[in-house]
Symmetry: D2
C-alpha cells in the first residue's frame, strides 16, 4: 500500500515513520510540512538519517497526494484535518486522522470543546479505537484515531462500562503523561529545566479528551456519562498511566470484575492483562503498541481502581494508527507492530 503522511514533523508523525519503516506492506510516498517544505525530514529528525531521505512537500498539491496514495495519515492540529478530509473526498484514498476532527459522532460536542466550527460533519467516519470499533474500522473511509489519554482511559474502563459493574456517575480518571504528549514546539512551560524534577497537573476539568472518553463509555454502557478527567505532566519523555476510579454497584464482586476484563480482552493481542492487584508501568510498554491493564478493588470504599499504561506515541498515536491501517487493509493486526518494548 502506498501511504502518505500529511503533517509529518510532529512527534506522532516521526513515530509513524519509525513504525512504517518496519511494515512489510506499506511504502511511504509523500510526507508534508508547510513550515519545512523542501527540507529533508532527516534534517529535522537526525535519528532518521540514512533511513528516510524524503523531502518534505507542501500539502497544497493535494491531488498528487490523493492520486499517489492508497492511505493518508494526517498529523495536523485540530481544525485542519477536516479540510484535508474534504479535499481528498473525491479520491479513492482512505484516511486516518491522528487528531480530533473525526473522533466525534456528534460534531456539536466537538464544536463545544474545540471552539471551531466543524466543516465536514457529513464525513463517513469511525472512531479509531481498534479493540472497540474493529468491525467499523474495517470498512471506514475516514478513521478518527483515538487520542492518547482517551485510549488509556477507555480501555481501562470499557469492561466495567459494558458489563455495567460501576455507577457511571462516579468515574474519575486521574491521568499522567510524559512530555512528548505536549508536542514538539518549544514552550516556556516545557523547557527542560522548568519540568525536570517537577510534577504538576494541567487543564483540570477542561481537557479536550474528556468528551471523547465520555462518548465511548456512553456507547458501551448505554447511559449518560459525565466524568472527571485530570491530566498531569510527568518529567519523562514517553508514556501514559491512567488511574481510573469508579464505585462498584452493590452486588458486584471482585470475581465479576475479573471476568469482565477477561471476557473483553482475553483474546486481544495488544492488551496485556496483569490481573487483579497488578501494577502496569509505562516503561514496560515503551516503544510498543501494548496497553497493560490491572485493577484493584478496595472493599473499604467499594471502589474499583483500574490502572492502564501505554506509550502515548505508539498505542496512543502512531501505533494505533498502524493497527487501524492493518485492520482497514485486512492485514494481520500486529503487522509492523510485533516488537518487544524497549527496557530499560
Amino acid at each position: 500500500m502506498k501511504v502518505s503522511v500529511i503533517g509529518a514533523t510532529g512527534y506522532a508523525g516521526a513515530e509513524l515513520l519509525r513504525i512504517l519503516y518496519q511494515h512489510p506492506q506499506a511504502e511511504v510516498v509523500h510526507v508534508t510540512s508547510e513550515s519545512h517544505t523542501g527540507e529533508r525530514i532527516s534534517a529535522l529528525y537526525p535519528h532518521l538519517r540514512g533511513l528516510y531521505d524524503l523531502e518534505l512537500e507542501s500539502m497544497k498539491d493535494i491531488s498528487r497526494i490523493g492520486e499517489d496514495s492508497d492511505f493518508v495519515f494526517i498529523g495536523l492540529p485540530h481544525g485542519h484535518a477536516m479540510e484535508v478530509g474534504k479535499a481528498l473526498e473525491k479520491f479513492p484514498v482512505r484516511i486516518i486522522d491522528l487528531g480530533a476532527d473525526y473522533r466525534f459522532s456528534n460534531t456539536a460536542v466537538y464544536e463545544e470543546w474545540y471552539h471551531v466550527p466543524h466543516t465536514h460533519p457529513e464525513a463517513e467516519r469511525v472512531y479509531g479505537l481498534a479493540e472497540l470499533y474493529r468491525e467499523e474500522i474495517r470498512r471506514a473511509k475516514i478513521i478518527g484515531n483515538a487520542g492518547c489519554f482517551t485510549t488509556a482511559s477507555i480501555l481501562a474502563l470499557a469492561p466495567l462500562a459494558k458489563h455495567r459493574l460501576i455507577d457511571m456517575n462516579t468515574i474519575i480518571v486521574d491521568a499522567k503523561s510524559g512530555v512528548s504528549g505536549a508536542g514538539r514546539s518549544p514552550k516556556q512551560g516545557n523547557h527542560f529545566p522548568e519540568l525536570y524534577d517537577s510534577f504538576k497537573a494541567y487543564n483540570v476539568a477542561h481537557h479536550r479528551h474528556t468528551p471523547e472518553i465520555e462518548q465511548a463509555l456512553e456507547e458501551l454502557s448505554g447511559e449518560t456519562v459525565v466524568l472527571n478527567f485530570t491530566p498531569h505532566l510527568v518529567p519523562m519523555s514517553r508514556g501514559i498511566l491512567a488511574t481510573c476510579y469508579g464505585t462498584l454497584k452493590q452486588e458486584i464482586t471482585a470475581e465479576m470484575v475479573d471476568a469482565a476484563f477477561q471476557k473483553m480482552y482475553g483474546n486481544e493481542y495488544f492488551i496485556r492483562l496483569l490481573g487483579r492487584n497488578g501494577y502496569p508501568a509505562t516503561k514496560d510498554v515503551r516503544g510498543s503498541n501494548f496497553c497493560d491493564i490491572a485493577w484493584h478493588i478496595d472493599e473499604r470504599t467499594r471502589r474499583v481502581i483500574v490502572l492502564s499504561a501505554i506509550d502515548n506515541l505508539v498505542k496512543g498515536a502512531a501505533g494505533q494508527a498502524v493497527q487501524n491501517f492493518n485492520i482497514a487493509c485486512g492485514f494481520e493486526e500486529k503487522m509492523g507492530l510485533d516488537v518487544v518494548p524497549m527496557y530499560p
Copy 2:
C-alpha cells in the same frame, strides 16, 4: 537548644541536618546510626563534608542522649521509635518522631495497618501537623510528625472537611511522589534504570498513610471518613503532588470554597494559596517548607479538585519537624525555614 537525631542516616535525617545547620537556636549534639556507628556522617553523605564532622554513635547509650539533649528527633523505621520514646520517658527531653509510631490517637488503628503491637499507647502525644494542631504541639512531650503524603493530602482537604463543603464519603486522593520518599536503601525497584522514564502506582488501597488522612479529616469534620488513597512513583528525586477529589454538597458554591481556604490558611506562612484554578508544581516548593495549594471546581460533575504540592523531605518530613520544634520551643515558627525554594 541541644538536639539529637536518632537514626540520622536516612534521607529525612540528612535533610534535618541540612535545615538545622541554618537554625540559630539549635545545636546538634548527637547523631546515631546502628549500622554505621563510628563512621562520620559525611562519609555517608559527602555533601555534608566540612559542615558536619560528627561521628555517628549508637543509640544504645540512650541515657547520654537523654541527658545531653533538650530535644530528640527520631528518624527510625516504624516500630522502633516507641522503644526510644519509652526509654526517654524519664528524661526532661521532648521528642519529635518522624515515623508513624506516635501519629495515631487510637493505637488499634496503628496496629491494624502496621501489623505490630503498639508498646507505648499511654504516651502523651500529639499529631505533628502544625497548621492544624499548633496549640497541642506547643505543650506536647511527644510529637508524631505527620507523614509526607498525609501532610499534602490533609492540608488540601482540611478546609473542605472543617466547613463541611463536601460529602465525606466521596474523597479520593491520587498522590504522586518523588523517589526519595522510598528511602535510601537500594532496591531493585528503585534502581536508576528501572524508574527513569517510567511511571507507576504502588500500594493501591493499602498504603499506610490512608488511616492517617482519615483520622485528621474525621477530627475536622466530625464524621466517619473512609477514603481512597493511591500513591504513585514519579521519576524525580523530591516532591509530592496530591490531587484530591470530593463531591460538593448541593448548595455549595465556588465562592464558599474560596472562602474556606482563605479563612483557614489566610494567615499561614507556610501555606501559599494559589487560589481557584491555580496549578501548584513540586518544583515551586523544592527545598522549602511551603505547601502550595489551588482548587478547581467542575460544575459538570459538581466535584472540587484540590491540588497541593510539597517537598516530601521538607514540609513532608524534616522541615515540618523543625516547624514543630519551633512551636514547641516558642520560637518564631519559620526560624531556620525562611528560605526561597530552589528553582530550577
Copy 3:
C-alpha cells in the same frame, strides 16, 4: 538457527531477547540464570510478558544446551564465560561472549586488568567488533563481543589510527554512559535519588575498557598505544557518548581527516558519518545498532576531537552480538537490526 542465552537476566541479556524476537533466522531455545532457575523470564522483566514465556534453566546441564544450540550467547560476569567456553568446546556450537573473557589476544593483559587467571588462553577466538574484524568473525568459533565504551571509542579513533593521522601517545577518551551500563543489580550508588540530577566520573585511570581500546588501536596503527580513558555516569538509562582527543601530526589537514573517515566507513551501514563539525546525540541512536560519528578540528591546538554516540545496550552489547551472529552465519548483516532509533 537455534540459539541459547547463558546468563539472560542482565540488561544485555534482556536486550538480546528483544532483538532476537525480530530476527527471522533465530529461535531461542534455552535461557539460563543460576539465581532465578525455574522462574519465567517475564517474571523478572514484565515488559516481556506475552512475548517470552521461557523458563529460566540452570547452565549446569551444559550438554543439553550444547546439543540443542547452533549458537550460544553468554551474558555472564567476566571470569565465568571461559568456563562455559571450555565446557562447550566439544560441541559443534559457536559462541558469542558479551563479557571480557575472550576479548584479548594477549591473555596476560586480561589477567593484569581483571585480576583473575585466564583458564582458556588457547581458545580460538576473535575480537567481536564487526566493522574492524569482519573477516575473522566470519569463521571464528568464539567471538569476544567488544565492550560498550570500547566500541564507541575504537570506532571513533580507528580511521585516525589506521591512517596515522595523529600522534598515538596523545589520545584521551573522555566517555559518558547511561546507568544501564552499570548492570541491573541495585547498589547504593545507582539508587535513583543518588544519581538523578547528578553527574560524576568513576574509575579514572583504571577502567578495564582501557586495554581493550589500546589493543585495537595498536593493531590498527602498528604502534604502542597508552592512552587515558575516563568514564562518567550520566543520569539517563541508555547511551554512550565518547569524546576523543588526539593531536594531529604536523602535515595533516582537515580534508585528510575527512577522507580517512569516509574511506573507512563510507560503506558501513551501522556507522553514520555526520561529517566534520557534526554533533551526535545518544538519543539519535537509542534502541538501534547505529554508531553516529562526527569530528572537529581545532586549528588553535592542532587537536582533532571525535565524537561518537551509541546505544550501550545495542551497538555496545546485544545489537553488536547479533551483528556478529549475522556475519558468522552468513546472514545479511543488518538482519533483525534494521530499525529506526526510538525518538524522543
Copy 4:
C-alpha cells in the same frame, strides 16, 4: 547595602534573589526587565510567590537605580552590560556583571570571541573569581563575575598552573553542564523531550569560555596557554563537572600535586578538597557555593586528571556574585552563602 538587579528574569537573576533573601546585609531595591516591565517577578517565577513582591522596572531610568543602590548586579546578555556600566559611571555605585563584558583584561580577546566591539575598554575592572583575585575584588569598581564553566575549570587547574607542574600546552578541559546553563528562553534544542535521556557535546573548539580559562591560566603560569575546551549538555537542571587533563612535567610526583592543591586551597572555605583519587559529584554541591575538587594521576600516561564540581547557578553565577559582593563590602565571605547543599 541597597542592591539592584538589572536583568533579573534569567535563571542567574532568580538565583541571585534566592541567595540575597538570606543575606543579612543586602536589601533588594530595584529589579529590572525590559520585556516584563510592570509585572511582578513572582508572576514569572511562582516559586518566589510571597517572598518577593517586587515589580519589575525598566532599566531605562538608570539614574534612579544609580542613586538608590550601593551595588548593582547585572544579568544581561553580553554586549549590554557595558552600556549599563558606562551609564552608572558617575554614580557612587559598584557593579558586579554576571556576563562576559568585564571579564577580559584585553578587550581585543573579548571582541574576537564575542564578535561585538567593546565600548567600555577603559573601565576599572577586575575578574571576579574570588579565590584568585580576592585582593583586587576588594577595591574594584566593576567586577566581571567569572563564568560557570570557567570557574570550574580554572579552580581545577590553578594549582597546577601556578606551581608549574604541567606542560601548559597539554591542557584539555572536557566539561559537562546541566541545562539551566543554557538560559531560560525556550529553544527547540532544549525542549524537554529532545534532551531527556540524551547526551551530546556542543560548541566544540569554539565555546566563549575558552579564552577566559586561558587568560586566568596565563596569569597564573606566566606562559602562553592555548587549550581545548569541550562543553557537553547533561540531561539535568543544575551542575557542572569539569574533567581536566594535563601532562605532568618530568620530575613531578603525586605528592607535589597534592601539596599544590593543599597550599592553594587549604584555607578556602568554598573549595572542598576531596584529595587524590576522589570523585566529586554535582549533587554534592547542588544549591551551594562549594567547588569540590579531586585529582587522579595516571602513571601510565603521566597525565593528571582533575575533577571539579560546582552548581553552575551558584558558584558558577549568583553565589560567586554574592561572594564577590561580600569581599567588596568587607563582609564575611560566606555571608548568605553558608548553607548545606541540597541532597538528594
